[in-house]
């Protein structure tokens, strides 16, 4: 039973993500695209070190390793 609950919550999270992505597509939307949000995060730098880019790209690299290799 708890497993079904966990699956339902993951599905809800992914569905909400998809709905927001769809809502962000209209021209007069007050919701930015996820790409724009990621771009702002990736612009963050400490000195000349692109901390935001390293963090986001590194996280996504780790996701691939976690699901396909580990």
């Amino acid at each position: 039973m708890t497993k079904v609950l966990v699956i339902a919550l993951f599905v809800l999270a992914f569905a909400a993500f998809a709905v927001l992505g769809w809502l962000a597509r209209s021209e007069d939307s007050k919701i930015p695209s996820f790409g724009d949000v990621a771009a702002i995060v990736m612009q963050y730098e400490v000195g000349r070190i692109p901390v935001g880019r390293i963090a986001v790209l590194g996280f996504w690299w780790w996701v691939g390793w976690h699901f396909f290799a580990r």
């Binding site: 708890t2 999270a13 992914f14 927001l20 771009a39 691939g64 396909f68």
Partner: protein, 135 residues
């Protein structure tokens, strides 16, 4: 002095086009789908493909889309699904009970044992990675 940030570099390389990149990703995904978890081949492919994209993303060798100067006020809505996902993932991980409280990766494992699903997810991972590299 007019200095160009890598994010504003206008040069587009010959291979930096969907017609080149997407078939390449499809090929990598088709091969990646063959390798099961915990194998040397799977580790090497993720290391090579992810490492290449990570390097491209940091060196600015790929044309990037300009970032917005500011976000629309509704950006906080994105925190809702992210927070829900993080909460469920952290809670299930903390429960240490993979049968009753499985994490997403445990739920995904049986799905990813299927070649087509694994190759499709591999393609999705590479495509999303490419989208991030170009931002």
């Amino acid at each position: 002095m007019d200095q160009h940030h890598p994010a504003e570099a206008p040069a587009v390389r010959a291979w930096d086009r969907p017609i080149i990149v997407m078939p390449t990703f499809a090929l990598v995904a088709a091969v990646g789908g063959l390798f099961g978890s915990f194998t040397l081949e799977a580790n090497l492919l993720v290391l090579a493909a992810g490492g290449t994209l990570f390097w491209l993303g940091l060196t600015g060798r790929v044309a990037r889309r300009p970032a917005p100067s500011r976000l629309a006020p509704g950006f906080a809505w994105w925190f809702a699904p992210l927070a829900l996902f993080a909460a469920v993932e952290l809670f299930t991980f903390a429960m240490k009970d993979p049968v009753n409280w499985p994490t997403l990766s445990l739920l995904a494992d049986p799905v990813l044992e299927n070649y087509l699903a694994r190759a499709a997810c591999y393609f999705g991972w590479l495509t999303a990675f490419w989208g991030l590299v170009r931002r």
